[in-house]
């Protein structure tokens, strides 16, 4: 048994888990309360047999569903809020109870009754996990109670019942408020000294105006106290030519009084602006004209304004939600072998990849207007709170290398999502009240970023693990980032909660929720190094040569781009010779040839296609403009996010992580050498042994000579996540389900399986 466990241990990797060794029960804080629990519960690991199942206690708290296994072992790294088998309640999508003797099944909501004693509980999670517990040996009453409790607590009736309020509220007890909490981001990053701007104060905006050289734009404070618009932040940026008085007057014409918001300035002076629809049709023309002319005045060349209608060109939030549901179906719900046959066409019919491409393509169109036509662009969306968040971020990521550093990327999300009032509360459906409002717009955005990252991995400071963990953090309901629909809602709820619970806030005006950017809330500093991309070519990446410091620029080798002509027009597609045209239909060929020729001549490539073609005909400057390749053959499924729980899809000791390992080690060596150089040159004098703590790399250089270290055995394509026990597909009711682990080994012999269970 011992051997077996050790073997299993190999595959058990990440973090995200509190040590449950020695049955020490760790709760997040005193704010976490146990609601109900059941003993002698089995967590299903394998599907065919129950021999791998874990025995333990199932606990429902006001924060999470926790499973405390009797025989868990410590893991590599740990999540500070969640144990190995824990699921935050906010991550639970559906609670299904089953009685396989009676052949009954029920989806539980809040405050519901259950007429049978469950033998099984299946939790469908928003992060694509499917977790099963069996109650064969548990008391029927306690099993029922814990199921009802989970169902109830995963449907909070009020936002203030979300765990974050308790969590943050408790931290004020016995303290004098802000002093101990500080602004959390400041406290986290002892090494870097960089910070994530939250854009909740006018100075962050001022800095952004200066950085982008938007001298004809100013910070506007008329919405302080949220008196003008309920969904706008207190501070935002407008053209200098518009006075506060004008803005107040125009505000009422816009949907939800949302005055157009400045996002960013291109170095040419063109501005990116987002705007909601004008609700008053009589005023529309006039107001639009005023706004446009003000934006024009703010342009150094007095260029025109281009309006980009997002609602017309992009899928809506329901489309996006439907696509994700279909994607989830084929990724984790359908049995592996069945979905395998039609994987590509099912993927296509989910439309998820198509939408990713549509958003990226639209962003490229906007980039073209800014970059090549030198005009300002207004992103127009009915409410200006969903699609424009995606597009404005993508545009900035493509144009502005600054945004590709970790802190600036976080700042970008603060600016374009959190402050601009993306309805995270509704889109995440944390209250499970209105399914129609639920939509993974933010996940879609992360996928778009991943595609860019995948095509230019050295251009971003962060890794795909970072993007994945960021997506998962939406379901940990303690962060200001994802809990609210807009800054005003956060302010009101925090104030109300504080006063209703008589919390003494000290200097704070409201409860101060940590933003997700305070990563030390969730991970140790060591684990956070998984976010650092060893390939990143930052601005400050310098190279010491002969004692002088020179910039280390990214150069492509000559053979990669020289003497090639690339990026030809896509518009020629229709007029080109299909393979069928060429030789297979001989009889009709002469006629066809003629029409081909004439068509080809008439086809004109559009200016934006020419722009893209020109871009691809030059070597890429990773510190400059980046455009994605958008042929459907060049986009891939974000496997780490969507397939990490699927055991059959795991590549043991393989996957991109093995390359990451090697790169990480090399980059660490470079850091070490640089430290040594600094020591020799007498600067700063950081002692050598501090290196290990300060290293930005997860995998460190070893002092063992001769050989490059082989990737550790526990690495797999799912790292740092592990499919073990995280994906139990539902089978036919009442039967021991799916072929789970069996499917993974379908090509392997019985010997292999036998060896593993010895």
């Amino acid at each position: 048994v011992c051997v077996k466990k050790r073997k299993k241990q190999k595959f058990r990797t990440f973090s995200m888990h509190v040590l449950t060794l020695y049955m020490v029960k760790v709760y997040v804080s005193s704010s976490e309360i146990v609601v109900n629990e059941a003993n002698f519960v089995r967590k299903c690991i394998g599907a065919e047999s129950c021999q791998d199942d874990l025995w333990g206690k199932l606990v429902c708290t006001n924060f999470k569903v926790s499973f405390i296994a009797h025989n868990s072992l410590p893991r590599q790294c740990t999540h500070r809020l969640l144990g190995e088998h824990d699921i935050p309640l906010a991550c639970v999508e559906q609670v299904v109870t089953v009685n396989d003797v009676k052949g009954k099944q029920k989806i539980l909501g809040s405050n519901q009754k259950l007429k049978f004693n469950p033998t099984e509980l299946i939790l469908y999670c928003k992060d694509f996990r499917i977790i099963r517990f069996r109650f064969d040996e548990a008391g029927p009453e306690s099993a029922k109670k814990v199921c009802l409790a989970i169902a109830h607590y995963s449907h909070p009736a009020d936002p203030q019942l979300l765990f974050g309020f308790e969590y943050v509220g408790k931290r004020y007890h016995g303290s004098t408020g802000r002093k101990t909490l500080m602004r959390p981001v400041n406290g986290v990053d002892p090494g870097g000294g960089l910070q994530t701007p939250l854009f909740d104060c006018s100075s962050d905006w001022d800095r952004e105006i200066k950085r982008t050289g938007a001298s004809e734009w100013r910070v506007c404070t008329i919405n302080q106290g949220y008196f003008i618009s309920p969904s706008l932040p207190e501070f935002f940026v407008v053209p200098v030519s518009l006075a506060d008085q004008d803005l107040k007057q125009y505000a009422c014409c816009f949907y939800s009084q949302r005055i157009p918001l400045w996002c960013w300035n291109h170095s040419s002076g063109s501005a990116l602006v987002r705007m909601s629809n004008i609700s008053d049709p009589q005023q529309q023309r006039k107001v639009e004209q005023r706004i446009s002319s003000a934006i024009t005045k703010s342009h150094p060349l007095r260029s025109d304004v281009f309006k980009s209608d997002l609602d017309k060109n992009l899928p809506n939030i329901q489309d996006i939600q439907a696509a994700l549901l279909k994607l989830r179906q084929i990724c984790v719900i359908d049995s592996f072998e069945e979905s395998e046959e039609k994987w590509l066409s099912s993927l296509e019919s989910s439309r998820w990849m198509e939408y990713v491409r549509t958003f990226l393509r639209h962003a490229v169109e906007v980039v073209y207007m800014l970059e090549s036509r030198h005009v300002s662009v207004i992103l127009l969306e009915k409410e200006d709170r969903d699609l424009s968040c995606v597009i404005s971020c993508l545009v900035q990521l493509m144009c502005d290398p600054h945004c590709r550093s970790l802190h600036s990327f976080q700042g970008l999300i603060q600016k374009e999502w959190v402050m601009a009032g993306h309805r995270f509360l509704d889109r995440c459906n944390h209250l499970k009240r209105n399914d129609k409002e639920e939509s993974p717009v933010f996940l879609l955005f992360l996928d778009c970023v991943w595609q860019l990252w995948n095509q230019y991995p050295a251009a971003f400071e962060f890794t795909e693990v970072y993007l994945t963990v960021l997506g998962d953090s939406m379901w940990v309901p303690v962060f200001s980032t994802f809990l609210f629909n807009c800054p005003r809602q956060r302010a009101e709820h925090s104030r109300d909660f504080a006063s209703s619970k008589s919390i003494h806030l000290g200097q704070d005006q409201a409860l101060c929720f940590p933003p997700v950017w305070d990563w030390s809330q969730q991970f140790s500093l060591k684990d956070q190094t998984l976010f650092n991309n060893p390939l990143y070519v930052g601005k400050i990446a310098t190279c010491v040569q002969n004692g002088t410091v020179k910039t280390f620029t990214h150069r492509r080798s000559k053979k990669n781009y020289s003497s090639t002509l690339r990026g030809l027009p896509s518009a020629l597609r229709n007029g080109s010779l299909g393979p069928n045209d060429t030789l297979t239909r001989r009889n009709s060929l002469m006629l066809r040839l003629r029409s081909d020729l004439s068509q080809v001549r008439e086809q004109q490539e559009t200016p934006s296609e020419r722009f893209v073609r020109d871009f691809f005909s030059r070597p890429v400057d990773l510190q400059g403009l980046l455009l994605p390749q958008l042929l459907p053959s060049h986009l891939s499924v974000w496997k780490l996010y969507f397939l990490r729980w699927v055991p059959e899809a795991q590549i043991p000791q393989g996957g991109p992580i093995t390359a990451f390992h090697k790169l990480s080690v090399l980059t660490d060596e470079i850091e070490m050498l640089q430290n040594q150089l600094r020591q020799y040159q007498g600067a700063a004098g950081t002692p050598n042994n501090l290196h290990a703590e300060h290293s930005k790399m997860y995998f460190k250089a070893t002092s063992t000579p001769h050989q490059s270290p082989a990737p550790p055995e526990y690495l797999s394509s799912s790292f740092p996540f592990s499919p073990v026990g995280n994906l139990c597909r539902p089978g036919i009711l009442g039967t021991p389900l799916s072929k789970l682990l069996n499917g993974a080994k379908i090509w392997l012999s019985t010997e292999t399986l036998a060896n593993e269970t010895i």
Partner: protein, 591 residues
């Protein structure tokens, strides 16, 4: 200048920096045969372009004259599978020519017929030189006389390779029975067989195996002694013939491995096809006759199905891909499904050998198409040596070339008969499978993608002798090693181009790839490389090289400073003994 060397152009169109210069780079012994001005190339991406067309005994070269920037089209004639005049001349005297290439593209030219009907058109010259074999001429490989620092024909020495595996040993011996290719003309001269089987018995076995391809050893596990054995199908026929020597041989193979009392026979074919072969005298081992042997069918389809699948794939990817139905179109070609079945078969073989410690016999019908696909992929999974650049060359020389994969027939070098039913992309499929594995294990292979593409380009180019002929015997008869240059001479003379910088050598590491469709992807940088919207990408490797350079630079600098410090200390220690020193451990270098 290497760029003018035997590199096959990696993009369709090559831009010329100095248009005034005629930049046709001729190889040694390459001669211009004909050229014509005013040829129109109908580029599927940018439309018709006018220019001049030159045909040499090695390549087709088109240089445009009416565009800025000036660019050209440069491809070896070996890559052409068909050149045809399409329809009759138009009223203006224009004739259209279609060129179908083996590397996934079709070209179309329009040209005026020469007014003097006695003069041959440049395309008639092209047809002659593109298909030298059909015109009783020799392939360009026999003319090409470039000298490289290394002789690639020496890469593979069978005895040395078997010795590396610890052979011969007490269970396996070298047999000289095929020294003069009398036993089997498509097998190599050096064969390894169980010691308990005599050459006379081998002769009897050869009459029972298709084309005389008897079960012989391919690879042996260094620890368990489980062997990978390859063969062709048994000639069982409808009457259920048996051959006691064959049964004895398989028993001996099993006995040579003390770890297991079983033998697995992997028949690559779908069982229906295997059964159908009985009508033609072939068939498969019956479990009655071969006790202790278990027969497994791997459901891999035949050469005709694969050819059809690639044809469909070409339809889907060239010249442009249909954006809205890309994935379902790709699915309908079944290309990835075939790749999956081959990889899955190889995985089962490797797993049987590694985890089950059981010897395996692999065959299909003749044992020269699906069999080398399976054995060589299984060997790559099992033996890290074959994941190095030289090891991979040895693997190809051994499993594919010496064991008689019919390259001449499958590729049709210099043969104008493009409809030949023997053509099939078996080797391409194998390289695709290798590429899939390099994607899943980015640090496990010493070579990069460019290495694989180079092999495929020269599979067709007929510049090197490596992939000529159908068997070892034929290559010797044609004196290929004497009269041509090996591809490995070229490759090994500039290895740095082909090295994967992320490679980590861990000797006893077995790779078990994941064979699900989810993890297989279309090799776009090969199949879609002609599309100008496709950008070659190796940024990770590029960046890694930069980091290596940076590390080297820093190391040098640190060492310099260390020396300086040591010198200073030596001079100052005489004055002031016992001054505090920080000891600095040098960072170890490993690349």
């Amino acid at each position: 200048d290497r760029s003018s060397g035997p590199r096959v152009s990696d993009t369709e169109l090559r831009v010329y920096k100095d248009p005034s210069k005629d930049e046709l780079p001729l190889l040694p012994e390459e001669l211009v045969q004909d050229s014509a001005k005013d040829v129109t190339y109908i580029c599927p991406f940018i439309g018709p372009v006018r220019g001049s067309l030159t045909v040499t005994n090695y390549r087709l070269f088109f240089r445009c004259t009416d565009r800025e920037p000036v660019f050209g089209l440069d491809l070896p004639l070996g890559g052409l599978s068909r050149v045809e005049k399409i329809g009759a001349a138009s009223s203006r005297g224009d004739v259209s020519y279609g060129v179908v290439c083996k590397d996934m593209r079709n070209l179309r030219f329009v040209h005026k017929e020469p007014e003097n009907s006695l003069k041959k058109s440049v395309f008639e010259v092209l047809m002659k030189f593109a298909f030298p074999v059909s015109n009783n001429m020799s392939l360009f490989a026999f003319e090409y006389k470039q000298v490289f620092p290394e002789n690639g024909w020496k890469v593979y020495d069978p005895l040395a390779e078997y010795k590396r595996q610890g052979l011969p040993n007490e269970s396996w011996r070298i047999s000289k029975v095929n020294d003069h290719y009398e036993l089997c003309d498509s097998y190599p001269a050096t064969l390894f067989v169980p010691v308990t089987i005599t050459d006379e018995e081998l002769r009897r076995v050869s009459s029972f195996r298709a084309k005389g391809r008897i079960p012989v050893l391919s690879w042996i596990h260094p620890e368990s002694q489980a062997a990978v054995v390859r063969a062709s199908q048994t000639m069982v026929g409808q009457n259920g013939r048996r051959c006691k020597e064959d049964e004895k041989l398989l028993q001996a193979i099993m006995d040579a491995n003390a770890q297991s009392h079983k033998l697995f026979i992997f028949d690559a074919r779908p069982s229906v096809n295997a059964a159908a072969n009985k009508m033609k005298g072939g068939g498969f081992e019956s479990e009655d006759a071969y006790q202790n042997a278990e027969l497994v069918f791997l459901d891999i389809h035949n050469i005709h199905v694969m050819r059809e699948s690639l044809r469909k794939l070409k339809d889907v990817v060239y010249p442009n891909i249909e954006e809205s139905h890309w994935l379902s179109n790709l699915e309908s070609t079944h290309w990835l499904e075939h790749i999956k079945l081959i990889l899955a078969g190889a995985l089962r073989i490797a797993d049987k050998v590694e985890s089950g410690k059981t010897s395996v016999v692999v065959h299909c019908s003749d044992g020269w198409d699906r069999t080398p696909q399976l054995t060589s992929l299984a060997l790559i999974m099992l033996d890290s040596h074959y994941r190095t650049i030289r090891g991979f060359q040895i693997l190809l020389e051994k499993e594919w070339l010496s064991f008689g994969h019919r390259f001449q027939q499958r590729v049709g070098h210099g043969d104008k008969n493009h409809t030949d039913a023997d053509r099939s992309p078996i080797f391409l499929q194998f390289i695709d499978c290798v590429w899939q594995m390099t994607r899943q294990f980015p640090a496990a292979f010493e070579f990069n993608e460019y290495f694989l593409i180079t092999i495929l380009d020269h599979l067709y180019s007929c510049l090197f002798g490596t992939f000529l002929c159908n068997s070892e015997q034929q290559r010797l008869k044609e004196e290929v090693p004497k009269r041509t240059v090996s591809l490995w001479s070229f490759v090994n003379s500039q290895l740095e181009e082909f090295v994967n910088p992320l490679y980590v050598h861990y000797p006893s590491h077995v790779l078990f790839p994941t064979v699900g469709i989810r993890h297989l992807q279309l090799w776009v940088s090969y199949y879609i490389r002609w599309n100008p919207r496709m950008r070659p990408q190796e940024p990770v490797h590029q960046r890694y090289k930069e980091l290596l350079a940076k590390r080297a630079e820093l190391q040098k600098r640190v060492e310099e400073l260390q020396r300086e410090a040591a010198n200073r200390m030596a001079s100052s220690s005489s004055e002031r003994a016992g001054s505090p020193t920080r000891s600095i451990t040098p960072v170890q270098t490993f690349v």
